[in-house]
Symmetry: C2
Subunit: 474 residues, 2 copies
């Protein structure tokens, strides 16, 4: 039966795209929506998103962000107020032209991002230095019409959070941009057990309308990088376009400095492709919808289900997300199903275990089994969840580190990305050399290394201004 189950998922090494599709669909994380490029986030996937939201809300609140909600529809004329912004997003927007049975006077965009509409409101609300800083966050759906789509990774509609702030000075706004990037990095480590590379993006890869974009990149199982979060310093580009002005302490009218940052349901794709294996999902304990599943053995025997329920109640009381699988399927079937669904801990409890005051505990990350005394269930399971998180991070970190190589020539760079690596290489800073890398190796600059160690540009051989991580990317 185990083989049957495993066979339903394509081979992770030889056909990763099909493996991904099999995993997301068969574990019921997601299904395809009827409109091309859309997804339905099913309860098992949405529960991960809710856990992600809760973890971020705690962090954003600590960073003085307040949640709010801004309208979905943005007048086309707003988009055009910031020249680079409209250039970047106009080709991707969905447009409402008719409503209430009539043609609209002005077409309305379905938000691809909300700098323009939030900027408009900030322009209305901010009057004095006393009103600053403003820090708001929105959880919302956004829409970007994409040609090639894949669930979680790139869909026409997706869910995300977007944080938006206004400061009196450039320094504060820049500092906030880096601070929120570090919040993302800490979140990725703590909650997703996911190591990332962070750093400045090149001009070519930055957000449309930003002065500077910082990105967080994660290495996927197939050797491709996934942009998993971005934080943008917007300077005065949007404050000037949307008249976000304040009277400073000296009585002068000044434009504010803004920044924004966002992560999306793409993070669920990142989890899948960072930790997944041939058996399916391996979910990080902090965001797993079910942290421990109890599989009753010889379920019909007297006292078994009762013991499972007693254990479940104790674990729940300790704050652990636990589920009893009391379905009619065989234990073997259940083992496979919950392994596929990536539940961090499986607990087997049968008559002999109960008599011995023990339970058999199997961890998803290593598939190791151990006997644990029932009386210590809460402490041991809690500790094991932490241990699994740490081990998953350590393992992913080692994998990522193994996938960082250096290159001094385009050939070396090509070889490196062909093997599925982040290739660290020098760059002179000119756009032509960056374009050449893309052309030669089908790789893009992901982020610049904070430590500038490279001597020469991988393309032109002139002095390197930056050390860049290049990779193939989603």
């Amino acid at each position: 039966m185990e083989k049957q189950f495993v066979a339903q998922i394509a081979d992770i090494e030889s056909d990763f795209p099909q493996w991904y599709t099999d995993v997301v669909v068969k574990t019921k994380l997601v299904d395809y929506g009827p409109v091309k490029g859309t997804m339905v986030i099913r309860p098992y996937g949405y529960a991960i998103w809710e856990n992600i939201q809760n973890e971020f809300n705690t962090r954003f609140q600590a960073a003085n962000y307040e949640n709010a909600y801004f309208p979905l529809l943005i007048p086309m004329s707003f988009m055009t107020k910031e020249a680079e912004h409209v250039e970047g997003f106009a080709p991707e927007v969905a447009v409402v032209t008719h409503a209430g049975g009539e043609k609209l006077q002005e077409p309305l965009c379905v938000r691809p991002t909300s700098e323009t509409i939030i900027g408009t409101m900030f322009g209305k609300w901010v009057e004095s230095w006393r009103d600053l800083p403003v820090r708001m966050n929105q959880w919302a759906n956004v829409m970007r019409w994409e040609k090639t789509t894949r669930p979680f990774l790139r869909t026409s509609e997706f869910l995300w959070q977007e944080g938006h702030s206004v400061f009196a000075t450039a320094e504060e706004a820049e500092e906030e941009t880096q601070k929120m990037l570090s919040v993302y990095e800490e979140f990725a480590k703590t909650c997703l057990a996911m190591p990332v590379l962070t750093g400045l993006k090149t001009e070519k890869e930055k957000f449309a309308g930003a002065v500077a974009t910082y990105g967080m990149e994660a290495m996927m199982h197939d050797g491709k990088s996934l942009q998993s979060g971005t934080s943008h310093y917007l300077g005065q580009n949007f404050s000037k376009a949307f008249d976000i002005k304040f009277t400073d302490k000296d009585g002068a009218q000044k434009y504010g400095y803004t920044m924004s940052f966002g992560v999306s349901t793409r993070l669920i794709g990142a989890i899948i492709m960072t930790h997944g294996d041939q058996r399916g999902l391996v979910l990080p304990p902090v965001v797993a919808p079910v942290q421990a599943v109890i599989v009753p053995i010889a379920m019909k025997k007297e006292g078994v289900l009762e013991a499972c329920e007693a254990l479940s109640a104790r674990l729940k009381a300790a704050g652990i997300r636990v589920k009893i699988d009391d379905s009619d399927n065989s234990p073997g079937w259940k083992f496979n199903e919950w392994e596929m669904k990536g539940v961090p801990i499986r607990i087997e409890l049968g008559p002999r275990d109960i008599e011995a005051g023990k339970m058999l505990v199997c961890r998803r990350d290593t598939l190791e089994k151990q006997e644990i005394e029932l009386k210590n269930a809460e402490i041991k399971i809690e500790a094991l969840l932490d241990e699994i998180s740490e081990n998953m991070y350590k393992r992913a970190k080692a994998r990522m580190n193994d996938r960082i190589v250096d290159a001094e020539t385009l050939e070396e760079l090509l070889d490196g990305v062909n093997k599925g690596n982040f290739v660290r290489a020098g760059w002179c800073g000119c756009r032509a050399c960056e374009d050449k890398v893309k052309e030669f190796a089908q790789a893009t600059s992901r982020v610049m290394d904070k430590k500038h160690t490279a001597k020469t540009c991988v393309t032109c051989g002139k002095q390197a201004k930056h050390t860049v991580f290049f990779a193939r990317a989603y």
Copy 2:
């Protein structure tokens, strides 16, 4: 200073619409969006919505609902599969005709409600009786293009939850429809301190496509009724349109029975207009973003802020949402501002209080003040929050009961609604008589009374089939 503050809000008795606008804008619950009919939900308003969400999530989970997320855009052809449904919603939909720089082959509706798209997915997922019942809930934005709009009450875009279920039998689906209505009623009482009338809607007032709609109506300060939640029994209308079929235990293919239910950000409008007074908002403790505000007296004096912070930490640890107002404004200004913002409890703490081990506590609902010993802060504040909830409910319930009158003729009915009442009257059951009430008294049937006591139809004088609550309504 107090007078100044109060004067900023229009008179609640003589100009209720302006009072409402003043309150929602000045307390920063909401602002007008740039597109006509849209609103921006500001942090203070959104925090109420988050509390509403949390309370409902607990209740829905207990009722075996799982959260999920379905696409925003619905192909126009889906809408037309259920004849009554499209007739009801087509005039209000916003339509995306262009995306990604191209004209779409088929126009897409921005969801006004999701029966059609969720029905499509349920049709795909449900195969056997083992898959039933299906119970899902979605928190989402929806759009209905309205001519006359007002923040929270009627806006082109609003936030809501929509629950959708499939059952094997009509009985189960009908029972669920009433059960979820009772969840709404309990929520309104417990969390919003809001009494409601619940019951069946007439054919004329039911949801487009439903077999039967049950509604929850609340009496607002100005004597108008606000529909605050609905639960629809959909029979097989949608299962037939969207092919939600299952193989039953007997091996036969059968259509499922579906139901749906929803509440929206309109509930925030209901809170405002149920409890508000001349000073502004009066927020029910369960959903108030700030449950207790601490105003330091003689703030600059040594030890005052420290004592406020110590008290705040203790209340927070007890699970109370507390805030210290340490702004530069005078205490009097702060009192007025937090009264306007409807915070249930204000705590004043100054040097003399600290010395005496006491704090002065003022409740928003009655404006009564009392001294409470600091050492009992947690228990006393918790108890007071409960007491405020109960008192607000009792008061609103008495007001509602005072506004229920009986009528046997159209003239009596007109007089009753002119005075801002729910008018209980007999109805023969025919559409013409219901229309006549609208024409004669500008009132609509809200819900049918569960107790049928009326003898004759208020319009035609024939035997009454139902006893109906009529009212002017939002």
